[in-house]
């Protein structure tokens, strides 16, 4: 899994590439924990190049969301495709988190 981070105003655009499964999802969780530790509060996660996500990946996302809660932080998602879109839908994550078609829309409507 590869993670790229761009600062966009007060938000962070986090681009995730590859797989989020039992082996790799801890990388995402750990990276987000470091960013929260550094004072970041608003995450937009771009999943366009995420090929695969399992329940372990969803677990990492939920843990990150819970870590953001005490300081009124927020995590949202954009560019969901194929399997990733399906997993978000089946798991009910699409009803719990804000999902945007594009990063631009996420930046415009969600956080800034």
């Amino acid at each position: 899994m590869e993670i790229e981070i761009e600062k966009q105003g007060k938000s962070l655009l986090i681009k995730v590439k590859g797989r989020m499964d039992a082996v790799t999802s801890s990388e995402f969780e750990q990276k987000c924990a470091e960013l929260i530790e550094d004072g970041e509060r608003y995450f937009i996660v771009d999943l366009e190049r995420l090929e695969y996500i399992s329940s372990a990946g969803l677990r990492s996302i939920l843990i990150t969301a819970r870590e953001l809660e005490p300081d009124q932080g927020e995590i949202c998602f954009c560019n969901l495709k194929g399997l990733v879109r399906e997993v978000f839908s089946v798991s009910g994550f699409h009803l719990t988190f804000s999902i945007y078609d594009t990063c631009e829309e996420a930046l415009e409507r969600s956080l800034d």
């Binding site: 939920l62 194929g82 399906e86 997993v87 839908s89 089946v90 798991s91 009910g92 994550f93 719990t96």
Partner: protein
């Protein structure tokens, strides 16, 4: 070997109302009209090929009761309100025959898993033998309690059948009615137990009221318990997000974890079970559609066949 589902709802029975039937009839007529229904139309074919299951049927109302049938042996998993239906079916199809022996395996004594027993007519018939198996040490007390005054008019100890309780130990293998049976402890308030039944190379696993929470991770013990099952009956009452958030520690699982575990364990047929009583027939059709699609997309091993259990469903194993 046949597996018959007599009760598939979780928590409490969920009867169909007149309004729900009307909605189904209206939808059926709309579909029939669109298909230009006339006197020459093959009605059965129209029902079979054009109507979705939620329109032509229902997932049903009764709480957990599953029959595993092989020859003359009657094995039942749990004694929810579906046991009443099984009892009536047994009596109507075995008229004049001698009383039988029933082996009932109890996952746990929560009410929705034992509430059918007071209405199990064979238990009132002299000569019938009923053996109730489980890993909880309070099973007899639980069965007696629900038939005690003022809850029920017939005391448990006055039933005509000879009823024995046999304690099982998880991890051990038992030979019962020709089946090799083992139990596994599951995460549920008050603890529940799953059962693995093996006979003639066929394996059926009954795993309901089992929570796989965020802390569970990869449960290799469960994968081993489910390994190569021809049929895995799996609690999928909630969505994953509900099971991990608002309904955490309520003791139930979800379809996504079911697919992942089934794929890891190379299960042939994943049957989602313990349907949420608030789920409509349309919701459960959607659950089946989504889970089947998900199973084809996730790549951890071979894709299992997926079904959502309904009252009256029969699976050939």
């Amino acid at each position: 070997m046949e597996v018959s589902f007599w009760g598939t709802r979780g928590s409490l029975p969920a009867p169909v109302t007149a309004q729900i039937i009307r909605h189904k009839v209206k939808k059926a007529l709309e579909i029939a009209a669109a298909e230009n229904l006339d006197a020459g139309t093959d009605i059965d074919n129209l029902i079979d090929t054009k109507l979705p299951f939620w329109v032509k049927g229902t997932y049903g109302s009764n709480t957990s009761c599953v029959e595993i049938r092989d020859n003359e042996d009657f094995l039942l998993c749990d004694a929810g309100s579906g046991l009443r239906e099984f009892g009536y079916h047994f009596l109507s199809s075995h008229k004049g025959s001698s009383p039988k022996e029933f082996h009932i395996f109890i996952s746990h004594p929560h009410w929705d898993h034992i509430q059918g027993f007071p209405f199990f007519i064979p238990s009132y018939i002299d000569g019938t033998r009923i053996t109730i198996y489980g890993c909880h040490d309070n099973l007899k007390e639980s069965f007696s309690l629900q038939q005690r005054s003022p809850f029920f008019p017939v005391d448990f100890d006055s039933l005509g059948a000879k009823i024995d309780f046999v304690g099982l130990e998880p991890g051990k293998t038992y030979d019962i009615a020709g089946f090799s049976v083992s139990a596994m402890e599951q995460n549920h308030p008050g603890i529940s137990f799953g059962y693995r039944f093996v006979k003639n190379g066929k394996t059926i696993v009954y795993s309901t009221d089992s929570e796989h929470n965020m802390a569970s991770g990869n449960n290799e013990e469960l994968v081993t318990f489910f390994n190569q099952a021809d049929l895995l009956i799996f609690d999928a009452q909630y969505t994953l997000i509900d099971a991990w958030t608002s309904k955490e520690d309520w003791g139930h699982s979800n379809n996504l974890i079911g697919v992942e575990l089934a794929q890891k364990a190379h299960v042939k047929h994943l049957c989602l079970f313990h349907n949420d009583p608030v789920s409509s027939d349309q919701d459960l059709d959607k659950l089946l559609h989504n889970t089947t699609k998900l199973a084809s997309l996730l790549e951890e091993g071979k894709t299992p066949r997926v079904s959502v259990a309904y009252d009256g469903m029969i699976v050939e194993v």
